[in-house]
Amino acid sequence: MNILTGNDLKTGDVVWWTGEAWSRHVSDAAEMGETAPDVMAREIAARAVSDCYLVDAERTADGILPAHIKEKIRATGPTVRPDLKLAPADPAAGNWVI
């Protein structure tokens, strides 16, 4: 699937397009289909995100998994600081990164 990601303009948070809004959780991401160019142009013009781009991903039992390791790390947080991961209380979060 193709999902859309960007960085919140004001905070820099990594965000994923849900179909209606931006979420910090990759598992909320929606399949973009044909809608990507319009959404991207609109959200950049609205200054919600500094920029955004499409990412290859797949739906798995654990949620949505970006295909490339860089996007996996972007979705969960630095692998060397488990306490800074997006879900620090969840010891299993991001196990599938490596």
Binding site: N7, L9, K10, I44, I69, K70, I73, V80
Partner: protein, 544 residues
């Protein structure tokens, strides 16, 4: 160290106001991201893998306890309670919000700090020798010259839209502790036969994708012409540096493609013209700056005796201190490379602790090294034991200066959007494999440097052992290089062969250290043995 006068303070305050205005205009839609990006970069603000990253300048790696405490405050108030010291003597924060950035710069300005030109296609932080003003081998303290260059290069109207970034290093000793030859401009301050001070200018060095050693441009530029000569080089670069390809845009490519001889001719031609413009400040300005770098009030007649009865202290003493020019004093190096830790990272509590130590024991001064450690430059030998005890309790006393676990590592794919592979886990695993300090001492001086991509921010080209992380069909892969050096024996490391996976590279490092131990002669470091026997015995051990 340098203290701002009202002019300097006004300049940083104005810069904060300017950036605040630029952020407002960005958020109001008056600037697109493309238009805003160079502006925020010129204030040190990157958009990285997880968030905005702010790179705060530590000019020539020198700061005091008040500034250090502000760095800790910023980590606590605006970030996630830690900072990362970099290979250009700066500090980075990884979790910054754009909307906070102007306030952070305002806070920094209250202690004479800033993030001016720590990124962007402009002249960056001027780096220097971390032992400046303390080591016995320097001709003069290089930092006043770095300060002169810092002011000249700040908000320079002609050189703010260069083809690419531009990095200076300034040293004043024959021993090169700042990797000077691997900079866009490297300057060695020297004295000629008449005892006059001048600048030996090198240009066209760099690491990155195509590493090059800077050739000599002019052997002796009288110090009164330091700035004019720099202008000549920058103007030649600004006019002729390539702008068609981001990866061929550094001055090293220009020097290489023109040839050093022709490049020098261009610079000298330009300088003939610039010389008449009187761009250099009068001698009185240099004297004013030099006065800020006068020796602190060293005590005389102190003993060089140290009680070595605590064996752990003795190990640290032998490895992590460096001779000082003043009898009874030493230079102490605080390792930010604990076994299994993240190279160069320090928590806000550790930063505060180092500030306290500097204030109490080091005439209120600290240095950041390009190897991502911290220096207390002026400590009484009599105080070393107390300092060590405090450091040890805080996890800052790893006695590994210049040993294999004193690894330089870029943030890598854990943090950096440019990276292809993670570097920090590799550093951690190597440090753990070689955790035994006796084993490390047996190996001796071994500078290991890891980069997570070919931009080489981890300086892997200058490693005795260098590791380059690459993306091999979506998987992290690591190439091993040998024989580089960023010191005065400068050389570029050579790749051994096909890369290894994350476990394989740790084994590979161990294999090459075994080859060294088997082949070395009396007094040889790893890099010396490599230079004598060549790469083949190492390749044999790695690939059979």
């Amino acid at each position: 160290m340098y203290k701002y006068d009202t002019y300097d303070q006004q300049m940083v305050d104005t810069r904060v106001a300017e950036f605040r205005d630029q952020v407002e205009r960005r958020l109001a839609g008056k600037l697109t991201e493309d238009q805003f990006k160079p502006l925020r970069l010129m204030n040190g603000l990157y958009l990285q893998l997880h968030a905005y990253m702010l790179r705060v300048a530590v000019p020539y790696g020198t700061l005091n306890s008040e500034q250090m405490r502000m760095l800790a405050h910023i980590a606590r108030k605006y970030d996630r309670d830690y900072g990362h010291f970099t290979t250009r003597q700066n500090i980075q924060y990884n979790w910054i919000k754009l909307e906070d950035a102007p306030d952070i710069l305002a806070d920094l300005a209250t202690v004479e700090m800033h993030a001016i030109q720590t990124s962007g296609n402009c002249i960056r932080n001027i780096s220097s020798d971390q032992y400046a003003g303390a080591a016995a081998d320097e001709v003069v303290d290089p930092r006043p010259y770095a300060e002169l260059l810092r002011q000249w290069s700040s908000f320079h109207p002609e050189f703010s839209f260069l083809p690419r970034k531009f990095k200076f290093a300034v040293i004043a000793a024959d021993e090169d502790r700042a990797a000077m030859r691997l900079h866009d401009i490297g300057i060695q301050i020297v004295k000629n036969d008449a005892g006059e001070i001048g600048a030996r200018y090198y240009a066209g060095g760099g690491m990155g994708r195509t590493p090059m050693i800077a050739p000599l441009i002019r052997d002796f530029v009288p110090i009164a012409e330091l700035i004019g000569y720099a202008e000549a080089i920058l103007r030649v670069y600004n006019r002729y540096g390539r702008r068609d390809n981001k990866y061929k845009a550094r001055i090293k490519i220009l020097v290489h493609e023109m040839g050093a001889e022709q490049f020098i001719a261009e610079v000298e031609e330009e300088y003939k013209h610039i010389e008449g413009l009187n761009l250099d400040a009068p001698a009185a300005e240099l004297e004013r700056i030099v006065a800020h770098f006068a020796d602190p009030a060293f005590a005389d007649g102190l003993s060089d005796e140290i009680d070595r009865s605590d064996p752990d202290f003795a190990v640290w003493l032998d490895q992590n201190t460096h001779p000082h020019k003043q009898p009874g004093y030493a230079i102490a190096v605080i390792s930010l490379k604990p076994t299994g830790g993240i190279p160069g990272d320090a928590s806000s509590a550790q930063i505060d602790l180092m500030a306290d130590l500097a204030e109490q024991y080091s005439f209120d001064e600290l240095r950041v090294t390009h190897a991502q450690n911290i220096v207390l430059p002026h400590v009484k030998k009599a105080d070393l034991y107390a300092i060590w005890q405090t450091l040890d309790a805080a996890g800052l006393a790893t006695p590994n200066l210049d040993l294999i676990s004193d690894i330089i590592a870029c943030p890598g794919l854990d943090y950096c959007s440019l990276a292809n592979a993670r570097s920090i886990p590799v550093a951690q695993k190597i440090a753990k494999r070689f955790a035994d300090i006796d084993r490390q001492k047996e190996l001796g001086e071994l500078k290991l440097k890891i980069s997570g991509c070919i931009n080489a921010c981890g300086h892997h080209h200058a490693g005795h052992i260098g590791i380059l992380g690459v993306d091999r069909k979506g998987t992290e892969n690591y190439q091993l290089l040998l024989g580089g050096s960023g010191a005065e024996d400068v050389s570029l490391a050579k790749i051994t062969g096909p890369g290894f996976d994350e476990d394989g590279i740790i084994d590979a490092v161990e294999k090459v250290t075994d080859v060294y131990l088997g082949a070395r002669e009396e007094g040889e470091r790893f890099v010396d043995t490599y230079r004598r026997v060549g790469i083949d015995p190492f390749k044999e051990a790695l690939y059979g």
